[in-house]
């Protein structure tokens, strides 16, 4: 995984709460067995509406997605963060995320940033007012900055370190194989096996 340190760019304001992963990437596109190529189907249904914000060329090239609360709820499909990332986004900023979606983002280095509702609102307003507004998401400093906005966000220490270093979770866990072996040796024998 590539290290994630600082993301600087323009943003797309998706002013909706409870955006579920069926909207982010509909089920009919989950049949690919590759990890790439999902960006073309991002918000596939909503995109058919010419007024949908993703069709607004003023926001072309945005690397930060601003969204409402409980973003990414529903199905556990990692295809959702893959599609967002494949489309060119590097961070999603919202008042809250669904747990599985947030985990999935963190595994692939797409940064889920939780800010207070008022701050997300302020960022949306700033971007709607001037689509060229640059937002900085600084993982090292745990800060989101935009003109007139300076907000701290939170990230588990370990996850932050892992993202900053670009480390793969599996490799990290494999350093603890001895502990896994030891745990395994003590598992009760009634547990089922295939």
């Amino acid at each position: 995984m590539e290290p994630v340190v600082r993301i600087e760019g323009t943003a797309l304001p998706l002013d909706r709460a409870d955006v579920d992963t069926d909207q982010i990437i509909p089920a009919q596109y989950l049949k690919r067995i590759e990890r790439t190529g999902f960006g073309a189907y991002l918000f596939d249904e909503w995109r058919k509406d010419p007024d949908f914000v993703l069709n607004d060329h003023r926001f072309d090239g945005a690397t930060i997605l601003l969204a409402g609360a409980n973003f990414g709820c529903g199905s556990s499909r990692e295809h959702a963060p893959w599609a967002i990332e494949d489309h060119g986004f590097r961070a999603v900023v919202a008042p809250s995320f669904a747990d599985i979606f947030r985990n999935n983002c963190l595994k692939i280095g797409l940064l889920p940033v939780e800010l207070r509702e008022e701050s997300v609102r302020a960022l949306m307003d700033a971007v709607l007012d001037d689509p060229t507004t640059t937002i900085v998401v600084d993982l090292d400093a745990l800060m989101v900055r935009a003109p007139g906005i300076d907000e701290v966000f939170d990230m588990e220490q370990f996850t932050r370190w892992r993202l900053l270093e670009g480390l793969d979770d599996i490799g990290l866990t494999m350093r603890h194989t001895a502990e896994i072996d030891a745990f395994e040796a003590l598992r009760p024998d009634w547990l089922p096996t295939a």
């Binding site: 909706r16 709460a17 409870d18 579920d20 069926d22 909207q23 509909p26 089920a27 009919q28 989950l30 049949k31 690919r32 067995i33 590759e34 990890r35 249904e45 609360a69 409980n70 709820c73 529903g74 199905s75 556990s76 499909r77 990692e78 295809h79 963060p81 809250s96 669904a98 747990d99 599985i100 985990n103 999935n104 595994k107 692939i108 588990e156 220490q157 370990f158 996850t159 979770d169 599996i170 866990t173 494999m174 603890h176 194989t177 502990e179 896994i180 745990f183 395994e184 598992r187 009760p188 024998d189 009634w190 547990l191 089922p192 096996t193 295939a194």
Partner: protein
């Protein structure tokens, strides 16, 4: 201080704990299906890694499979199913493939074969893994990168959740079911209400539910935003597990039950959040919107967004536009054109029996398309042994093979644009059952009665 049920199971599975890091949990059972696994197996191949515990990994095909006889006509679906077959072969994993005995929706076959047992940690690349929590297992839905992680290490790094108690008390009205309990809970706590929490469902109403009912409740924990849902195991649980193919036997069974009896929240356990539901006030629920918290009772009307709190207004307006519903319309006047009885929420034998009792000797309303899709091949065969298939087909239902079917628009069973369903599944998101399809979530009783009447209703009204 006492500990909660979930905390006990959690603590029993900590392989490694270090300051500032998530706990590393051991995974007792990893269920795999065709949609969220191909990229994980690819990852293993790319990095030259192996599956650490093939014997704790079980795979099946459910999301893509057709529920009628004949070949898989969709080439991309076939490719995805074939990828799982190849991966299972290459990594020597037990697979219950489409067309074979044992196949079915991953959350139906785990319990029915006795893989799912109290006190276990269970993961699957599917959010409705929470279903297995009905047995007092800690069952968590994961994404594809995590699937790869579990395949390679049989562990999962997880930050500690919070504990929530949802207590259901009072007398559940006879026309209400487990589905109505969970829809009521979600309507109460909201779609994000359980975020970051593991919910323990407790109280006399939950205790009185069958395992099937408990699975229905735990299944939809994710619709309330929770990481998992659980019910403490008891004699109902043990009676269900005993004798199943992968359940412990003899001395091992005795040892297991002794341990399982310790799996309950201590009397002085402290929950981070507590919610109480009065079952006596419940009615059968019908969802009207595009998320599962947007529901009202069968006696209700489609709400007027203007009367909702501002934060919910816009979403409600959008939902009503999508659902083509007018505020103030009585739910009983809404007429679906499709009935779907199935999905990991409501496709077990008990669900099918309840629905069959309603439709026995009656006919599906003119012009309605009605499907019954058993959750597994085993459920299908059991139902056929009881003659339920005939009850359904005589009434005008289609009797299908096992799979996810119309729960999601990934296989041939889909809603067309503008179609309106009464569905026993768990998600009513836009397009969930097919592009432009409109979903109303209901219990099997309401779905069956609605099939006969042609509009939303309960069996009591027929």
């Amino acid at each position: 201080m006492g500990r909660t049920l979930a905390e006990k199971v959690w603590e029993e599975h900590v392989v490694r704990r270090a300051d500032g890091e998530p706990d590393l949990l051991y995974v007792d059972l990893h269920l795999v299906h065709e949609v969220t696994s191909p990229q994980a197996f690819d990852g293993l191949r790319l990095s030259g890694r192996r599956v650490r515990r093939r014997d704790l990994t079980v795979a099946t095909m459910d999301h893509n499979v057709p529920t009628t006889d004949g070949p898989v006509t969709d080439g991309i679906s076939a490719r995805q199913m074939e990828a799982l077959r190849r991966n299972a072969e290459e990594f020597d994993i037990t697979l219950y493939p489409w067309g074979g005995a044992g196949q079915g929706i991953v959350h139906v076959i785990g319990p029915e074969m006795g893989y799912t047992q109290p006190g276990m940690t269970i993961v699957c690349g599917d959010s409705h893994t929470s279903t297995h929590g009905a047995f007092g297992a800690l069952a968590i839905g994961i994404g594809t990168s995590e699937v790869e992680h579990v395949l390679a290490t049989q562990t999962l790094p997880q930050s500690k959740p919070k504990w929530m108690a949802v207590t259901v008390e009072g007398d559940l009205p006879a026309d209400c079911s487990a589905k109505d309990i969970i829809l009521a809970i979600i309507a109460t706590i909201g779609t994000g209400g359980g975020a970051g929490h593991v919910i323990e469902y407790r109280g006399p109403v939950i205790r009185a539910l069958s395992m099937e009912g408990r699975m229905t409740v735990c299944n939809m924990s994710i619709e309330g935003g929770a990481r998992a849902g659980m019910v403490a195991p008891d004699d109902t649980t043990f009676a269900y597990v005993e004798g199943r193919p992968h359940a412990p036997r003899q001395a091992a069974w005795e040892a297991a039950v002794d341990h399982w009896r310790t799996l309950r929240s201590d009397d002085d356990a402290v929950f981070d959040a507590e919610v109480a539901i009065d079952a006596s006030s419940l009615r059968p629920y019908v969802s009207w919107g595009t998320n599962p918290a947007q529901s009202v009772t069968i006696d209700g009307v489609v709400p007027d967004p203007a009367t909702l709190e501002p934060a919910k207004r816009e979403a409600a307006e959008r939902a009503l536009r999508y659902m083509a519903l007018e505020p103030g319309t009585a739910i009983r006047e809404v007429r679906p054109d499709t009935i779907f009885i199935g999905s990991c929420t409501n496709s077990r034998l008990e669900d099918l029996r309840v629905a069959a009792e309603v439709v026995r000797g009656r006919r599906v309303a003119e012009g309605l398309r009605a499907l019954v899709v058993p959750g597994s091949v085993a459920v299908k065969l059991d139902a056929e042994r009881e003659g339920l298939d005939r009850v359904f087909t005589d009434a005008g239902f289609e009797w299908r093979g096992a799979g996810c079917s119309m729960c999601l628009g990934m296989n041939p069973d889909i809603l067309g644009p503008g179609d309106r369903s009464a569905s026993t599944s768990n998600r009513n998101f836009e397009g969930r059952q097919g592009k432009g399809g409109r979903t109303h979530l209901v219990s099997p009783r309401v779905a069956a009665a609605t099939a006969i009447a042609g509009h939303f209703t309960t069996p009591e009204d027929l």
